[in-house]
Amino acid sequence: MSSMALKLLKPLGFPDKLNLASLIKALVVPMSGILIFLFIWNIGARNIHTSLGEFPGPAQVYEQSKNLLNEHNRERQKEADFYQRQDDRNAKKLAKNPDAEIKIRSYTGKATFIDQIGTSLVTVLAGFFAASLIAIPAGIVIGLNKTLYSAFNPVIQLFKPVSPLAWLPLVTMVVSAVYVSDDPMFAKSFVTSLITVSLCCLWPTLLNTAVGVSTISSDLNNVSKVLRLSWLTHVIKIVIPSAIPMIFTGLRLSLGIAWMVLIAAEMLAQNPGLGKFVWDEFQNGSSNSLGRIMVAVIVIGLIGFMLDRIMLMLQKKVSWDKSQELR
């Protein structure tokens, strides 16, 4: 295996050097776990009968994933054809009469599964980013000041366990009332999802940052005092680097929550994304629906896993304590 491939596999738990024993550990053991799961799934699925037919097993799900990909490609083809026809028509019109008014309409086809994945990813990253932008500075300020920490801790503890579904109606109403513009930069549904996600994934980053900041060793604080570092230099040179491991622990938790919250929010609010896809398929109720939902479930899981690995890679990159094992 080339070194590049090894580098890519490393975050998945692959060792640096491959020998037979480590190959078995790295590949065969997880593979057999997956196989056992598929087997149990297959047996279980055959024995569950729903009003939409048999519960989908691995084979049906594989079939549906191909279908979803084909549908996506067909839709893209349709879109390309549509623009082609429109261009041809307009060209003809202009040839006849150079002053003719031409109309350009955008294609309004239905969003495919792949489109929904894209929407969800953009929304989750935007929400997570917005939350981090608030949570990290707020965490630093709260962590540095015991009084502020005591003041805000009850509020944080109160809102931390609130489900996204409870926030959603409020956020929807507020966005409808406040976010009014003739030519909005973002769709209202996007803003609603983003705020809901942010509200729910704010807390782990906030708390972990605050704890990380407040547990800086007193010796390092004394160094800072002896050097008479200004508040800002103290924060940049001492506080943030010390708290980086804790901040990243928080960020990873937050991103995981953000992804889970987003799917639920999309489902309930009918905002575009994977959640809406699942809900639409459920409402659709064809014999293929369950299979298609199962594809979505697996894709949601894979994306969540991937997001966490990306965060882990970032964390390893910025972590100064190389002796610490990150997993």
Binding site: D219, L220, T233, W320
Partner: protein, 302 residues
């Protein structure tokens, strides 16, 4: 060495608040230190040596009395009173060079150019023999090397007084001896004023111009002050058989083990006796656990 008072502690008291009322850690500490003098503070654990040092550093505020440095009152920490901490306190995410750089940039930001700063950082790392590893991070170098960098960082601030809180306490005996020799060299070169806390009687006699012996807490104070009039430069091997050196050592030991014998030591804790049995030489008597560990490591190394 001028005879004028450089640093003066006058009637220093400190009370720490505890749930059961204030705890008087220090009571009426008086000390006058001349410029360029090397002073050791010695005493049993918990007698408030570190507290004295922290008051001079400005990290603690005296409840009564105060500290004057060149006629000015000390009431906050500052780089002119650089501290070498016991556990080095380097920033683990910065290399040795960057650790010193942080201090140099802060202290000389208005008075040195970039090139001058670089030269000054390298000069100080050279003084402590760390030029070969200056771009390594603290977790990549040994405990002794970390402490060298800690000293370089303190020296780089060009302090009027250098405060050292058991700088070699966590090191093994061989490394400690190396660092003591380095410190004596540097001290001969720069003639800094140094206040050093130690538990090690040999270290105190070898390095100091004066040894300040503290009584046991609570309400600890200066017990006796011993002038060490040994010729400099001092060499540990030559001094080992020197009657004058042994006389000084005996004086400190008698203060610690006769006049300020700890009540719990008199009762004889089993694990402490065990340690004492290991080394019959009273000079090697260990005074606290940190040093016991270091001593053991030293024995292993030897």
């Amino acid at each position: 060495m001028s005879t004028k008072t450089h640093l003066e502690l006058t009637g220093v008291d400190i009370d720490f608040p505890t749930p059961s009322g204030p705890f008087k850690a220090l009571s009426n500490v008086n000390l006058k230190i001349k410029r360029g003098e090397f002073v050791s503070l010695i005493g049993h654990s918990g007698c408030g040596k570190s507290t004295v040092l922290n008051i001079v550093a400005g990290l603690y505020q005296a409840t009564k009395g105060g500290v004057l440095l060149d006629g000015k009152e000390v009431n906050e920490p500052g780089p002119e009173r650089a501290v070498v901490f016991q556990n080095h306190s380097l920033l683990p995410w910065l290399s040795a060079y960057e650790n010193v750089e942080l201090a140099v940039k802060q202290v000389f930001k208005n008075s040195k150019t970039k090139a001058e700063m670089k030269e000054w950082i390298e000069h100080n790392l050279h003084l402590v023999h760390m030029d070969h590893a200056m771009h390594k991070r603290p977790d990549e170098i040994s405990g002794g090397m970390k402490q060298r960098v800690g000293i370089a960082r303190a020296l780089a601030m060009e302090p009027t007084v250098m405060l050292m809180d058991e700088p070699f306490g966590a090191l093994d005996a061989l490394t400690r001896a190396h660092l003591q020799d380095s410190l004596m060299e540097i001290q001969a070169d720069l003639n800094n004023t140094v206040i050093m806390i130690t538990h090690d009687v040999d270290e105190a006699v070898l390095l100091s111009d004066r040894i300040v012996m503290m009584t046991n807490g609570p309400a600890a104070t200066v017990g006796e002050i011993l002038d060490v009039k040994l010729e400099r430069p001092r060499h540990r091997l030559e001094l080992a058989d020197d009657p004058e050196y042994n006389h000084y050592r005996a004086a400190v030991l008698s203060f610690l083990y006769e006049k300020q014998r700890k009540p719990d030591e008199a009762a004889g804790q089993p694990e402490k006796n065990e340690k004492k049995a290991k080394s019959n030489n009273p000079a090697q008597k260990v005074l606290n656990t940190k040093q016991q560990d270091a001593e053991q490591r030293g024995e292993e190394a030897a």
